[in-house]
């Protein structure tokens, strides 16, 4: 197990070093070390997935920080949750690596790209494998770094380097909270190791209520940043400046789900403080709806998917917040495949249109790029939650759980969001792949992507169809049984009692999805009613959505602006005028000294040495005198 985990973890690091440091011999072949490294990592992860047992395997490699009783090991914690995360991360990573060979072909930063991508896989696996919160945080910030580097990959574009910086800084706000969470855990339990903390909580859950509330809230602040929840989601739409495979891997399938993973990993903590769970679920539900509304009117193909990711992450937080940890991880797992697929398919469209993102310039692409269109359609259906595709099972489980546990309001929000999800996804589908081409120039040059890109698409499409089947039967399913060892038994008690109601719920979920698709069809294909007219009718509401609720503007004005003004005022007012003014004032009173000084300081070294000697002699004389007196 140690060897497999180490291999999975360090192979990508080695790949990153090979390309990043010794990469000159590779150049156009930079993908080979990268793809092989991730391939090895994937195989090792699968091996672990097959071997992981009932008890978590806790391994310490060495002691990272030892200060007094604060002892942080560099070590692994491997249970079924780790194994599932590793499997998802490495598999999607592998496919994205392969896809990138085609997508990034000919880019001057080819080698740099693969080095960053490998570094990301290493960081993400470190996050997942860590056996304590401090080491988790290392991975947590390291994936943030990779995200920063990859968003700003084309840094000559100002918008790209701005977006990278924004992502890092907004994440840091969350991370500051995470740090306080780690401190709280250490102050309470005297350790940041999972095994110690979990054991102490399990053995005496009521003892630590207050501390647990603080710790879980602080940790959740970190999750809000990393997993792009309200109010820290603002970096994710901008993150779309990065190369599209990066958006698929980091900003959809893996990194952004780290927050969900962290909450699930800490489920013993969160279960003890259901009131915090309520907050987590509420934030999740609100974000889900909030982001979905913005996805409805956006014309940028990638940004629609970005808002969709934020929205789906919201679902996951609803699940883990309400204690359905397995359901949350289940949605994380299916979402990784279909959202990864959607982004890669969008990348395929961009590849064909030379980077065009505006959907209003597309239309009718189905005929010219059938592989992309079909796989995109599959992904959209999976996301919309239509049976028997993957998204149906996972999303439905969350919605059901909200209903069954009596969180009617959250449930209603989740159902409404499902309607909007189907609507915006099929708005995208109809705008891009159906109808008449709206830009002849783009349409004329359209071509299907090479197999190195379409094969990963089809593999992910297959996963988007079938990945949910392991979850059929809810708490008795393969997936839930497997994760039971890590996340505890999943109770949907009342659910079995209310089976007829359950059928009704399923029908409702499917119904709203179909309704959403139908609405999109009517608006964007039949143009009845005309969406432009509708937008005008909606007036301010439409503008509000279109301008993304002005959140960026508000942040810029109130947070960034205020800080900046403060800084300037302090610099000119305090630093320059007050402090320096006082100092210089003192200086001017010695103006005579100044003029002497100026002449004095233009001399040669000899004269300085002389001055040193005189000064030193004076000092000694002075001390001798004062010392001799007593």
């Amino acid at each position: 197990m140690l060897w497999a985990a180490s291999l999975a973890l360090f192979a990508p690091l080695l790949g990153a070093i090979l390309n990043g440091v010794f990469g000159h011999p590779f150049r156009e072949k930079a993908h080979w070390p990268a793809v092989i490294a991730v391939g090895i990592s994937m195989l090792a992860s699968w091996w672990i997935l097959g071997r992981v047992g009932f008890e978590p395997v806790v391994l310490d490699l060495y002691t990272w920080i030892p200060v007094a009783n604060f002892v942080v090991p560099f070590g692994f914690y491997i249970d079924s949750l780790t194994a599932v995360m590793m499997g998802v991360v490495t598999t999607v990573s592998f496919l994205v690596h392969v896809y990138s060979i085609g997508y990034m072909h000919g880019d001057p930063g080819y080698r740099r790209y693969f080095a960053y991508l490998n570094l990301f896989v290493f960081s993400m696996l470190l996050l997942v494998l860590a056996n304590n919160y401090a080491l988790l945080f290392v991975g947590w910030e390291a994936v943030g770094l990779c995200s920063y580097l990859l968003i700003g990959f084309w840094y000559e574009k100002k918008s790209a380097s701005d977006a990278g910086k924004k992502a890092f800084i907004v994440n840091r706000i969350g991370d500051a909270g995470f740090l306080l969470g780690i401190f709280t855990l250490f102050a309470t339990f005297g350790s940041v190791r999972y095994d110690t903390v979990f054991q102490m909580v399990a053995s005496n859950p009521h003892l630590y209520q207050g501390a647990l509330v603080a710790a879980t809230l602080f940790l959740f602040l970190g999750a809000v940043g990393k997993s792009a929840q309200f109010p820290l989601y603002v970096w994710l739409p901008d993150a779309m400046e990065g190369p599209t495979p990066v958006s698929a891997l980091i900003h959809a399938a893996t990194m952004v789900t780290a927050g969900v993973y962290m909450v699930a990993r800490s489920h013993l903590l969160y279960s003890e403080v259901p009131q915090v769970g309520q907050l987590v679920a509420s934030v999740g539900a609100f974000t889900a709806l909030f982001a979905a509304t913005m996805a409805m009117v956006n014309d940028d193909i990638k940004r629609v998917l970005a808002y969709s990711t934020i929205s789906q992450l919201g679902y996951m937080f609803v699940a883990v917040g309400l204690g359905a940890y397995t359901a949350g991880i289940f949605h994380l797992y299916t979402h990784a495949f279909f959202k990864g697929l959607l982004f890669l398919a969008a990348g395929s469209v961009m590849h064909a249109t030379h980077g065009e993102l505006n959907m209003q310039k597309m239309g009718g692409f189905f005929r010219k790029m059938p592989h992309t269109a079909w796989t995109f359609l599959i992904g959209a259906l999976a996301l919309s939650g239509l049976p028997p595709l993957a998204g149906f099972f996972s999303k439905d489980e969350i919605i059901k759980h909200a209903y069954v546990t009596g969180h009617t309001f959250i449930w209603a929000v989740a159902v409404l969001t499902a309607l909007l999800t189907a609507f915006y996804m099929f708005r995208l589908i109809f705008l891009v792949f159906f109808g008449k081409p709206r830009d002849a120039e783009i349409y004329a040059h359209l071509h299907e992507s090479p197999p190195v890109m379409t094969v990963p698409l089809w593999i992910l499409a297959a996963a988007s169809v079938g990945a949910g089947w392991v979850g059929i039967g809810e708490e008795h399913s393969v997936f839930h049984r497997f994760l039971e060892t890590a996340l505890g038994e999943f109770h949907l008690v009342e659910w079995t009692v209310h089976r007829p109601a359950g059928v009704g719920l399923i029908a409702l979920s499917v119904g709203v999805a179909l309704l959403g698709i139908l609405l999109a069809y009517s608006l964007y294909l039949l143009r009845k009613p005309d969406p432009a007219l509708l937008a005008r009718r909606a007036g301010f509401l439409y503008t509000l959505l279109k301008r993304k609720y002005y959140v960026d503007e508000i942040y810029n004005l109130f947070v960034v602006g205020t800080l900046r003004v403060t800084a300037k005022v302090l610099f000119w007012g305090v630093d320059r005028a007050l402090v320096d003014g006082t100092v210089n004032g003192t200086g001017w009173t010695l103006a005579a000294t100044g003029s002497v000084f100026r002449r004095w300081s233009s001399g040669f070294l000899r004269s300085y040495l002389l001055w040193i000697l005189i000064g030193a002699n004076f000092l000694v004389w002075f001390l001798l005198r004062s010392g001799g007196g007593h």
Binding site: G20, Y62, T63, W64, I65, P66, V67, A68, F70, A134, F137, V138, E141, A142, L145, G152, Y155, E156, K157, K158, S161, D162, G164, K165, F168, I169, R172, I173, D175, A176, G177, L179, L180, F183, T184, A187, G190, R564, T566, A567, F571, V574, D575, L578, V579, V583, G587, G594, R598, S601, L605, Y608, I612, G615, A616, L619, L623, L624, G627, G628
Partner: protein
């Protein structure tokens, strides 16, 4: 042995007089500082990290009339700073080849004299001896800024000296008062009487007098305004040593003198200094953010970083003290690296204005990666050195109160703001015609950075060997302060119990 380490650089200045040619002098001094670095590593041989008190002690007669003696010795704290000094002096010398074109011999002689002064400060165990070294080191630094600096070098050098002298005056007065009360200049002797050294009323005053001198050096808000000017005007090596070593003397002073000699006052004033640390963190960060001058930006970032160190040591916890002491070393590496980067760019473009240093990422990819890593270490990215220190400091602050840590983590956010903004302006933009054809790093320049990066990664990934240095001193300082506070409150509390978390 310790005397040899201290005075070897001074000794090695003599051959420079007979050397000819800029390059010869440069390579000779580089070799000399390297030898000095290796020699200082010998101090590690047989060094007992668990031992309390001083090692490599040398004691000789010196001014017996004054009860001052030539008393040297090191503990983990001073040894770590001595190694940092010899290492950074070597790195700084290696970076000086092209930068220094005038009065070359004098420059390298000054650098070596400065090294001796700095090493003496860290090794002196006699207060008078300490003060002599403290002043000795001031003058070469003044010359470095005043002669080999930029346009406003005279103003900056004058300001630097004025500020430090103001502090020195208080320091000297306090030392003399201390001598009058205790009858000795010897630190070890004073430490043995710690807690009952001076009357309580006087202790507070002496603490403040020492603290003022050291606060100027650190520098703590509001005594920091000499720093941006000195840094901006100093030559690269001067900035590296100024940030890397000289600022540490302030913190060292707090630890060595204030905490050991005035434990009750240290405890009493701790909240004030933690608050000043926080102010430094936030104020330095905000100032840094609005600078257009690259070196000024880095200088203000030092104010923020040293704010962390002060916050840490005044927590009187293992985490805060060990983290703070490690963070001094980290700051020397990271900020030293940033100044080296700024100097390297200055050599090419003769400007520090970030608006004119745009888009060097394209022309100088290798440099950009090196610069980027150093920048991230300064941001405190986990896996690199800065994180370990900052994390421990904040943990210590949290142990004192959540509020301290909560303000402290704001500094973590702001560090990302100003440093990423800097990196974006200089590296991650489209190149201008001016910067399109800049030359990437030479092998020598690469080595300069590689030397720093070795330690940046090493401390980040495996900090244990470096944390070892501060273990015993941190124990001692805590016990000293807690013991003194407990002794004071003995009538009220029967036994002072060490709180084990």
């Amino acid at each position: 042995m310790l005397s040899l380490v201290i005075f070897l650089p001074l000794l090695l200045t003599v051959p420079i007089v007979f050397l000819r040619g800029r390059r010869t002098v440069f390579w000779y001094t580089t070799a000399a500082t390297f030898v000095e670095f290796l020699l200082s590593l010998f101090l590690l041989k047989g060094f007992d990290f668990h031992m309390r008190g001083f090692q490599w002690v040398e004691h000789a007669r010196w001014l017996p009339d004054l009860a001052a003696s030539y008393h040297l010795g090191v503990d983990g704290l001073s040894l770590s700073l001595i190694l940092l000094t010899t290492f950074l002096t070597f790195v700084a010398t290696l970076s000086s080849l092209n930068y220094i074109q005038k009065q070359v011999k004098e420059y390298y002689i000054t650098l070596l004299i400065l090294e001796t002064g700095m090493l003496g400060v860290f090794a002196a165990l006699d207060l008078l001896l300490f003060f002599v070294f403290w002043e000795v080191m001031l003058l070469p630094m003044y010359l470095l800024i005043g002669i080999w600096g930029h346009e406003r070098r005279i103003y900056a050098a004058f300001k630097f000296v004025l500020y430090t002298m103001a502090g020195s005056a208080f320091l000297l007065t306090a030392i003399i008062v201390l001598r009058l009360h205790t009858g000795t200049f010897d630190l070890v002797e004073m430490m043995n009487r710690s807690g009952t050294l001076v009357p309580a009323a006087l202790e507070g005053l002496l603490f403040l007098a020492f603290a003022l001198a050291f606060a100027i050096k650190v520098p703590l808000f509001p005594f920091h305004t000499w720093l941006p000017d000195a840094h901006v005007e100093a030559p690269t090596a001067g900035s590296v040593i100024l940030a890397g070593v000289l600022l540490k003397m302030g913190v060292y002073g707090f630890l060595r003198f204030n905490f050991t000699l005035f434990p009750q006052a240290s405890h009493h004033y701790a909240p004030l200094f933690m608050a000043l640390g926080i102010v430094g963190i936030l104020y330095g960060a905000l100032m840094s953010w609005v600078q257009e001058d690259l070196k000024k930006l880095i200088a203000y970032s030092s104010v923020a970083h040293l704010g962390f160190v002060i916050l840490g040591i005044f927590t009187f916890t293992d985490w805060g003290l060990q983290g703070g002491i490690l963070q001094m070393v980290n700051h020397g590496l990271s900020t030293g690296g940033l100044f080296l980067a700024a100097g390297l760019l200055y050599e090419r473009k003769h400007t520090r204005d970030m608006a004119r240093l745009r888009g060097i990422g394209k022309a100088m990819p290798v440099f950009s990666v090196l610069f980027g890593i150093v920048m991230l270490s300064s941001v405190g990215l986990p896996g690199l050195n800065g994180f370990v220190g900052e994390f421990l400091i904040l943990l210590g602050a949290y142990k004192v109160s959540l509020a301290w840590a909560a303000f402290g983590v704001l500094g973590v956010i702001l560090a990302a703001v100003y440093l990423l903004t800097m990196f974006q302006k200089v590296v991650l933009t489209a190149p201008t015609p001016e910067t399109r054809h800049l030359k990437d790093v030479s092998p020598r320049e690469f080595v300069v950075f590689a030397l720093l990066l070795v330690f940046i990664f090493w401390i980040g990934v495996y900090p244990a060997p470096f944390l070892r240095f501060a273990k015993a001193p941190s124990r001692y300082l805590q016990e000293n302060v807690k013991g003194a506070v407990a002794a004071e409150t003995v009538p009220v509390m029967p036994a002072h119990q060490e709180v084990q978390p």
